[in-house]
Subunit: 333 residues, 2 copies
Amino acid sequence: MIKIAIDAMGGDYAPKEQVEGAILAIKQIPDIECTLYGDEKEIKKYLTSDKRITIVQSDGVIDMGEKDPIRAIRSNRKSSMALALTSVRKGDNDGVVSSGATQALIAGAHILIGRMKTMRRTAIAPLIPTVDGRNIILIDSGANIEIKAEYMVQQAHYAHIYAKEILGIDHPKVGLINIGTEEGKGRELDQEVYTLLSQNTHLEFVGNVEPKQVLNPPCDILLSDGFTANIVMKTIEGTAKGMGKMLKQELKKGILGKLGLLFSMSNLKRFKKRMAADEIGGAMIYGLRGVVVKAQGASKKNGFYNAIRQTASIIRQEVPSKVEAVLEGEKND
Amino acid sequence: MIKIAIDAMGGDYAPKEQVEGAILAIKQIPDIECTLYGDEKEIKKYLTSDKRITIVQSDGVIDMGEKDPIRAIRSNRKSSMALALTSVRKGDNDGVVSSGATQALIAGAHILIGRMKTMRRTAIAPLIPTVDGRNIILIDSGANIEIKAEYMVQQAHYAHIYAKEILGIDHPKVGLINIGTEEGKGRELDQEVYTLLSQNTHLEFVGNVEPKQVLNPPCDILLSDGFTANIVMKTIEGTAKGMGKMLKQELKKGILGKLGLLFSMSNLKRFKKRMAADEIGGAMIYGLRGVVVKAQGASKKNGFYNAIRQTASIIRQEVPSKVEAVLEGEKND
């Protein structure tokens, strides 16, 4: 049995959507067990079955709007997020799913689970939908603001194995996010990473990729530092939201327009769904001694279920120990 | 008379769209004269009038796909772009409009026109359309990859005056692009800029702005270094293009959908137009001893005309000397 710890109290719609997502996961995925960390009384309002589901009472929650989320997770070891993370370190569970505050989850995972020996920096890796229906990995979307080139290459190795094992891509390609496609473009850091990736024999490197191609890139993994990739992720989100609003404003105009909008409604809904990150699942935190997946803060039942399913696959495929083996091999090269 | 140098050979559709754009500008703007730098024979194919328009023969063009655009502009001083820039240094013209390669234009402007004494780094400043129909300034979109905090503040001053004089905003607000809204977020550079802007008494600083709000920001100026703002600009472009394709894919589905699409066609066209940067005009290069505006490489007649109109306004409002005065004042504070 794969054992998954659920932070039932983190997220905009917790614990309702988290509990319902877990029930759905139990129904759909036969080899998992879930432990829900949270307020037992609140959880029980939504819990319709206790088959392969256990509740562990927590004390407090790391608030989504927390001003200092890292301090919050440090000072509240009984919170649902802290208890869920600690359960993995203790060996009670194999992985954690949380919709709680990202920075608290990254910091908490560092403190309470710890980093893999071979990987020097963690990374957070959401999936981005592309025009041709693939999902690409965007790392590091915010774990390390300033980082060395060689640590970014380790993160690329992690993503490479993730892409193979979880996304089912036989020969994953890595692209470096940059302001131009030519070699020598970008900051010193980008030039160093470019050189290291070009020399690496395990990774297939396609070179620099400009974010003009962000929804249609010639690769499966888009790599940058935690500041830049976070800016890319948030710009995609902002542009998608802004364009959606502008589209709505324009489509409503005129009588013909209103009629057109009516006929197009179900297509537009499918378009909106396609853009919703919720449908894809969560963002994995790479480089830990356990599996930690961050589901969107605004996750509803299905989004949270997808994140649980993803977590179960990562554990089933033993992604972290495969990464450990590859990074050990690279060290000895 | 305001005298404008036109690089007639730079751009994807040169010289046709450049020449037609100039003719339109002469018709619409009574106080300008244009000098077209380029291949006289080619230009004459499209030139229907010589009223307030002169041609100066050039030799060669800085190609859009140039692998080393900076070298190209250095080594070809007779190219249309180089001649147009040089004419401003000589005092023959007050400003330049070019759709040529951005990096060549920035480098060429440095070499052939020169930097303002008071401003230590140039910046390139495109305008971005917002959800509520404003245009905001995104600086520095690619002139300086690595830069000091105090030079970024100088660029903010330039944008502040531009926003007042050209965009007609009485009290322009400055936001710092960052990965979180709280003070203390981001890299060391971002934290330094935050402190300097907070202490500045001339600029209205709204704090950090996440690119989640990039098409609807709580400010008129979005500030970052030349690497980050370039990444933001290209991510907006990539997301808009990608979403447009996905929207098209989805809207075509089903019979009702096809009917809806038909009725919505004119609204969709207006939406597309609204997203086209071409309609807004060009990106000004801040910090030079003259006015240089980069029109989109893919500019058609109207886009190029808009860039000429913008250039004329900048010259008419004497933006560079107003900036010079403010920066002198700041120095003495």
